[in-house]
Symmetry: C2
Amino acid sequence: MRDILISEVGPRDGLQNIKSILPTEAKKRWIHGQHQAGASEIEVGSFVPAQLLPQLADTAELVAYASGLPDLTVSVLAPNKRGLEAAVKSGAHKGSIPFSMSESHSIKNVRKNHPQMLEEVRSCIEFLRQLPRDRRPAFEVSISTAFGCTIEGEVPEDQVLRLVEQIVALGADEVCLCDTTGYANPVQLARLLEAVWANCGRDKMDSVHLHNTRGQGIANALRAVELGITTVDASLGGLGGCPFAPGASGNIVTEDLVFLLESMGLRTGMDLPRLLEVREQLQRDLPGEELYGFVAAAGLPKTYTAAA
Amino acid sequence: MRDILISEVGPRDGLQNIKSILPTEAKKRWIHGQHQAGASEIEVGSFVPAQLLPQLADTAELVAYASGLPDLTVSVLAPNKRGLEAAVKSGAHKGSIPFSMSESHSIKNVRKNHPQMLEEVRSCIEFLRQLPRDRRPAFEVSISTAFGCTIEGEVPEDQVLRLVEQIVALGADEVCLCDTTGYANPVQLARLLEAVWANCGRDKMDSVHLHNTRGQGIANALRAVELGITTVDASLGGLGGCPFAPGASGNIVTEDLVFLLESMGLRTGMDLPRLLEVREQLQRDLPGEELYGFVAAAGLPKTYTAAA
């Protein structure tokens, strides 16, 4: 039984943002280890052309590998319809398309403005709908820069709401609010979550992707969970840092989040001591890369017991 | 107007736990700078014998200096009656005595068991009561190891409640719950805060001292503030680390806490850009020492506005 699903995004979001290229065998070791430690959803890569992201060029092979592990949802990022087609071909259980709420960020990132992105989402959903059900992955739209943008600054909340409504109306299976830039605070997070739920119902959005860029990640996760969010993205060792602020922190740290939630009596299904071993192995496999997080440095308290 | 008072403990708790000795002039520069940035309460040192803590031997001089700054509560740690006498002589506005809820930790730290510590508290209060009012500092008892202990592990909550009741009955002006070991989680924190308030009323305890040893510090601060706590201790740059786990984080980071609270619309009275300058100066003055925190590395978001 699980209260909160921690969706591991390190193999995609983490590896995308570092200098080193982690060999495929080491990635498999990571995925295997984290699965053994209780992970039930892992984003194993991204279907973008290899010349753009050589560090994620082995995604199809990783999907094939991870799909052989029992009770594991294998997720991939697919920035457009071509990527989604590759995701379907690979057999991934879930495909996730990032849609920037800041139009400037969208244009810079994927060279599409908002109408073009909406058309891309429509086209993806149309493609998926003509597939037989047993070959159709879940389709999630990641609502990125939802809390602000390094280019535009404030992203008006009614703009976010309007776009999310349209995305849901097009037929996305789920949406995930993402604090891509590490700008969010708990009050803003609560306001936006409640507004999206009021507009679109609660069943389309039960996950968040938070960054710890300014130390607020775990506090935002706490607020999200208090409000009823049941899936939180995180990265082992906080791998990846912040693409916008070199040297800054990025994804919240999987093991620190597991510690907090389990200590609070919220079951994550994760075995924290085993997870810490997986992190140690990851650090050995990425000797030049910085890992974040505090539990690894401090160890577990004598009082630590996992949630029942 | 201030919603949350951030009580700066870096000059005492931070400096106590590092190898370097910060020269008195640099400490004055720190206190002055942080006061200019809006700090209204600073723990400037500790009255212990100089041979025990040479790094804090200049406390009397710092109290004299800080007392000259307008609208600043000058606080000191005083581990026993002798220290409190020195605090009174120095003119400090507030004296704080740590009282470990774990008897093993109390014995190890100050060589006093619980009955002896209660007697020390009684003796301190008796001493203060015979002083004329205008020479009597506020007397706070820091309820340390309230959430667990590195020696004993779990510290039974009814033991904490019983001791706090006795401390309050003896006449302490205030108590402060301290997560000395970085063990606490938001559920436990809420439970203990509510229980103390139920037993002793709300006016004796409106502050907490939290550690970020396992990444939970800011989340615990969020929960505390949600519950009605109005004073949170923090250390600039998280100076000091963890005395129990070398290399681990310790006090929550003042500037990261200011960022979170101000972003949420909670007024701290702190000028964050100025505070970051004070941190930079501190790092220059302590070149060999590690500072923690994320806001300093990432900078402020374009969307950042201080609370009105």
